[in-house]
């Protein structure tokens, strides 16, 4: 497990990280979200040792992370970076060897990843002769070539078409379920919601929400009840303890407190319900609530805390 404990970093007047605390568990996908400039990239760089925190600890498997530990991390920076005129396979072998693989092992792993990512026929092409999407795949292969224990990806989905996004999602899932910890940032909350088991929300250098994504949603104080009836939707508009959010023809969306039992609430509604949904708020709502708060404080969610 990777832990950041009270990590702070200041660049002159800018406080990039202010006591940032969260964790990345092995075998799980952790989504890392926050507004631009919230500190995501700085936090990731602190994990990789590219930034030395002014305060706080980065711990790996219970001890302060060492350069040797970091050699078992894989990293894909937001700004993609590879040598444009170097051949794809040579590039991956080079990076694999720098991560500690022997020349033979690096060649074997690089070839294996190129196969897995559908780039086997481009192995001897120069990087800048590849399409944008294929260059992204090579970048991912560069992060994976040494089979890292922890994978840190800064915006892996940016610039991908829908098919490539699906492929990337599947791949990240496979890697996490193979036992590695995966931390990735994204502005696409729907991807995080569908893909991730864990969530970290950061704002102004502070973690404002973190934990198991389902638990976070379950812990939200409100629920949404969406009901479509065959006729007379008006009877749904004046229920006690429920606020109407949407009224669209025969469909009504209500917000209720978590403590309100939907079965009791709907007891007198009658037998013409066509559709019914009862769900916690979507990630986007939780995110907006978390980053809009005037005084951000970390909320630990029970069942997920250390």
């Amino acid at each position: 497990m990777l832990e950041l404990i009270g990590v702070s970093k200041r660049y002159g007047e800018v406080e990039a990280l202010a006591g940032c605390t969260f964790q990345v568990r092995p075998g799980r996908l952790t989504g890392f979200v926050g507004p631009n400039g919230a500190g995501k990239t700085t936090a990731m760089r602190a994990v990789l040792g590219l930034v030395t925190p002014d305060e706080g600890d980065v711990r790996w498997r219970g001890h302060p992370v060492t350069p040797t530990d970091r050699r078992r991390f894989g990293y894909m920076p937001e700004e993609r970076g590879l040598y444009p005129r170097m051949r794809v396979l040579d590039q991956l072998v080079f990076l694999g060897r720098l991560s500690g693989l022997s020349a033979a092992a690096a060649a074997r792993e690089a070839t294996r990843w190129l196969d897995a990512l559908g780039l086997a026929d481009r192995a001897s092409s120069r990087l800048d002769d590849l399409s944008h999407g294929n260059q992204q795949r090579v970048q991912l292969a560069a992060a994976l070539v040494h089979a890292p224990d922890l994978l840190v990806l800064d915006e892996p989905f940016s610039g991908l078409d829908p098919l490539a996004m699906d492929a990337m999602s599947g791949l990240l899932g496979d890697i996490a379920h193979g036992g590695a910890g995966v931390l990735f940032s994204s502005h696409q909350l729907d991807i995080i919601e569908h893909l991730c088991e864990d969530l970290v929300v950061i704002d102004s250098g502070r973690v404002v929400l973190t934990g198991d994504l389902d638990a976070i949603r379950d812990a939200a104080p409100v629920r949404y009840l969406e009901i479509t009836v065959a006729r007379d939707p008006e009877r749904l508009l004046h229920l006690t303890d429920a606020t109407v959010v949407v009224h669209d023809g025969n469909r009504v969306r209500l917000r209720v407190a978590r403590t309100v039992d939907p079965v009791t609430l709907l007891a007198g509604v009658g037998g013409d319900v066509v559709r019914l949904a009862y769900e916690p708020p979507a990630l986007s709502e939780l995110f907006h609530a978390a980053v809009a708060g005037p005084v951000p404080t970390t909320r630990e969610v029970s069942g997920v805390a250390r």
């Binding site: 760089r45 990789l48 040792g49 590219l50 930034v51 030395t52 350069p67 040797t68 970091r70 050699r71 991390f73 990293y75 920076p77 700004e79 993609r80 970076g81 590879l82 040598y83 444009p84 005129r85 170097m86 040579d90 080079f94 990076l95 060897r97 720098l98 991560s99 500690g100 560069a142």
Partner: protein, 397 residues
């Protein structure tokens, strides 16, 4: 015994160096520049000797030529290392036409008058004058009854060599030429290969490869690997060009090619390596503070100034080879590679002075590498305009 982590560090440094060697050494630009360099240097050595027609005196003669003049002239020509080609013309007009058509260098009329096309050649004039004089003496000697054996002993031509002293003592002209050529080459080679390190560093930063590398290894290992790799590539290229030059000079039997002793060559190579290391590390550190190659050129301007200082140092050293300033400039690390190269080529530099200069350089490098490593690692992840150096020296990154 190295610790495992240190061994890994050296291994990574070498992998980075190896990438530079393979990628640069295998590039078309490198092969072309090596071939061009070889062609250029062969041409520089070869062309003057091809163009140099003055090794043969072409002398025309008409009218009454005293017997023995041709033989005497041949002896004179041999004494100044020239061949002789003599053509006899039936009339003065024929001879003069040959002079105008550049078929001969000079026409000797009646053994007493020289006719040139535009201007006279003082060496050839002297040779002919001597030959004519010898023939005249021989005739007189005959009349006076001196035997030809005795006369021959009296008349053996003396070979004269010349040497230009210059304003100061000991520097001979040949050595000075070698010195300036060596200084020019040293200056070019250091600027060129250190410049390659500069562009390499800026490109890596602009391509954002730097971040991918930094996630795998400390900045000082990247810096060291780059400098070593480009240095090896440069040395191979220089060696190819050097071998081509020496082979060509040997092939044309360069009586004119100045000879260089082995230890001077070895010291010169060492100073190239030291100078290259010094400047490439400086360039790399300053290059890392910029994100674009245009800015990088501005960033290294102060260093270019230091390089120029060494050039002025050489000009000063030519006039004042033993001045304290000259000796200090050959110790001062930024100017030492170039100034010492000049001193080595022109004078015998005492061994202890070489050692002192090399020691100063190594000490300076030790400090410089630490400072440069700090600047390099601090600056690599900061994009946009120039990163202020003051921030980087202080930073803990």
């Amino acid at each position: 015994m190295l610790r495992a982590e240190d061994r890994e560090g050296w291994r990574r440094t070498w992998i980075v160096a190896l990438r530079e060697i393979c990628e640069r050494g295998g590039s078309r630009a490198y092969r072309i520049s090596t071939v061009l360099g070889v062609i250029l240097v062969v041409a520089i050595v070869l062309v003057p000797s091809l163009l140099d027609k003055s090794t043969t005196y072409r002398v025309g003669m008409s009218g009454a030529v005293p017997g023995g003049t041709v033989t005497a002239l041949a002896e004179q020509a041999r004494a100044v290392n020239h061949d002789l080609e003599v053509t006899h013309y039936p009339s003065v007009a024929d001879g003069e036409r040959a002079v105008r058509d550049k078929k001969i260098d000079v026409l000797l009329v009646d053994g007493t008058r020289l006719e040139w096309r535009t201007k006279s050649d003082s060496t050839l004039t002297a040779a002919i004058a001597n030959a004519v004089q010898v023939v005249h003496i021989r005739d007189q000697a005959d009349r006076l009854g001196i035997s030809s054996d005795k006369l021959a002993q009296l008349l053996v031509p003396v070979s004269l060599t010349s040497r230009t002293l210059g304003a100061a003592h000991t520097a001979d002209k040949d050595a000075n030429t070698v010195g300036f050529v060596a200084v020019g080459l040293m200056y070019l080679a250091i600027s060129f290969y250190a410049g390659s390190v500069l562009t390499g560093v800026v490109q890596e930063k602009a391509n954002r490869v730097a971040e991918v590398l930094l996630a795998r290894m400390p900045a000082r290992e990247i810096l060291a690997g780059k400098v070593v790799g480009i240095g090896v590539v440069g040395l191979i290229q220089l060696a190819a060009i050097g071998v081509a030059a020496v082979t060509t000079a040997a092939f044309i039997g360069g009586a004119d090619a100045p000879s260089i002793s082995g230890d001077v060559l070895a010291w010169t190579c060492l100073w190239f390596v030291l100078g290259y290391l010094f400047y490439s590390v400086l360039y790399a550190a300053l290059g890392a503070t910029t994100s674009r190659i245009e800015d990088a050129q501005a960033a290294i301007t102060p260093i270019t100034g230091l390089m120029l200082l060494s050039y002025f140092g050489v000009i000063y050293a030519e006039e004042n080879p033993d001045a304290v300033v000259t000796i200090l400039l050959s110790y001062f690390p930024p100017t030492a590679p170039v100034v010492m190269t000049y001193r080595l080529a022109v004078h015998a530099v005492p061994g202890w002075q070489m050692m002192t200069a090399a020691t100063c350089m190594v000490i300076a490098m030790w400090g410089l590498i630490r400072l440069a490593g700090r600047i390099y690692s601090g600056a690599l992840l900061r994009f946009g305009g120039r990163v202020p150096l003051r921030d980087l020296v202080r930073t803990r990154e």
